[in-house]
């Protein structure tokens, strides 16, 4: 049953060193507040899972939190490279990172398999591609009915999934809308689920068929206004495209990145403190 707690408590209680952790959100509703809190509490040896690592995993990888990454597209959308991700893969900095690389279709199916309590996903994919050659988890299976050869890959079963949503009611029932990505599947595939929300409301007032996660599939729910920024929350605020472009400069050199993490994450008390600092500095990008 979902418990309303602070984000600091949720991360301290439910995410441990060495855990397999999925922070999901497909461009939209990326749980940045929670990602920062993992860095602030100096979690280590995490096996991170996420379709699109985005800036959030660039930060976690560069800060030394990750031992392994399961992913399907690692870039800064519309901008270019994720420099911290690249530095880890190309130069093992700040530490070596093990890759479990898949395609979007595969990982989406693997979350569905996890949510469905199945051991593996089946899809029509990878025929002729080099991925099965470099990832021994990508295998094949023969359809018992037609003889067709299909790709089979292990289900994703995180110890913890973290997502951000627009609203939760006082009982901890969660509502999200807009681009939903794989958040529902990622929550249902996980042993524990932490949800940060824009606001706590008396009633969700949602129509039938709305994407609602009942409180009994959520472990902890936390208020985190603007908790998805620089990603966006549909109906609340827009994507901070200026920050996404500024990140290219902040993250390119190790020293600059380390300084940014120290000042903006390690030296701030919480995400509200980070946001205050961002607002004061006019978002690094202002100087561009």
């Amino acid at each position: 049953m979902a418990e309303w707690v602070t984000l600091r408590e949720a991360i301290a209680t439910h995410v441990h060193d060495g855990d397999t952790v999925a922070l999901e959100g497909f461009t939209h509703l990326i749980p940045f507040a929670a990602g920062h809190e993992l860095i602030r509490q100096r979690r280590r040896n995490l096996s991170l899972v996420r379709m699109t690592p985005d800036l959030i995993y660039d930060q976690l990888i560069g800060a030394g939190c990750a031992a392994k990454l399961t992913f399907s597209w690692g870039g800064n959308p519309g901008v270019g490279s994720l420099h911290r991700f690249r530095d880890a893969v190309e130069n093992s900095w700040p530490r070596p990172i093990e890759l479990d690389e898949r395609s979007h279709s595969d990982l989406a199916n693997a979350y569905v398999a996890g949510a469905s309590n199945l051991p593996f996903a089946v899809l029509r994919g990878y025929a002729g591609s080099d991925y099965p050659r470099v990832n021994d988890k990508i295998r094949s299976i023969i359809c018992p009915f037609t003889g067709e050869v299909l790709a089979a890959t292990p289900a994703v079963r995180p110890d913890v999934t973290v997502i951000h949503a627009q609203k939760a009611d006082w009982h901890g029932n969660v509502l999200l809308w807009g681009i939903l990505g794989v958040q529902k599947e990622a929550v249902l595939a996980a042993k524990r689920a932490i949800v940060t929300v824009e606001e706590r409301v008396r009633s969700l007032d949602a129509p039938p068929n709305a994407c609602i996660l009942p409180n009994w599939v959520v472990t902890a729910v936390c208020e985190a206004p603007r908790g998805a920024t620089p990603s966006y929350a549909h109906g609340y605020y827009e994507r901070d495209n200026i920050f996404y472009r500024a990140w290219d400069r902040i993250s390119r050199e190790r020293g600059c990145f380390d300084g940014w993490v120290d000042q903006h994450i390690l030296q701030t008390e919480d995400f509200a403190g980070y946001l205050r600092l961002q607002d004061e500095s006019g978002v690094q990008a202002g100087s561009r």
């Binding site: 939209h28 597209w73 395609s103 979007h104 279709s105 591609s129 080099d130 991925y131 681009i179 827009e238």
Partner: protein, 261 residues
Amino acid sequence: MNLACSADEMMTVAAARMLRDGAVCFVGIGLPSTAANLARLTHAPNAVLVYESGPIGAKPTVLPLSIGDGTLAETAETVVSTPEIFRYWLQGGRIDVGFLGAAQLDRFANLNTTVIGPYEKPKVRLPGAGGASEISSSAKEVLIIVKQTPRTFVEKLDFITSVGFLNGGDSRQRAGLSGNGPTAVISDLCILRPNPQSHELEVTSIHPGVSRETIIASTGWTICFAETCHETPAPDATELETLRDLKKRTAAAHGIHGEAA
């Protein structure tokens, strides 16, 4: 209006023309998204644009910076989850055209977006497959838009992320891929199409002002020209004006001075 166009504009316009009205198109971000939206705003108002983040029938007024910008959801006929988009809509066989970009491609239109150099110790780590590998296998046809240089048009790929015609001939079919594969590659110099038998790409149309020597020098393999190789019609006033307006709106919306991505 200045009808003299840049090589990039020629590429985008030539790519947009390939998308027929009413086609259901799975759109990659960047150049493919620009071309697909230009098509929708000109000759193909009924094209259905599908983005991997879930929007189906998106009609953005400005180009999205990311594959999941809010404008895609707001202007779509419906927004479905990411598993659904790949399972029901792409793998389900409902996509007519996959529109892709690439970092590298070879003579059989296989694409690499994964690594430059060896996989285990890459010289350059690229983003990876995203949706492209299953788009290239499952869409009924694939259009590829990419700038032509010896570094992108290579003799041998470092990694096959998305399959075109594999080793040529009927090797794609034998590998069991359901879609028909690439039907055209649109570059900033020319249009290439696969030879019907060998499936090797050959130049079928050359953009105005581009020489055969430039195309040869910009290709990492010995490139073939089709017997009937004509000149690509230059962009007309409507095409250019629509493209420039779209880019201007986009730049203003994203707070970019000058040309948008």
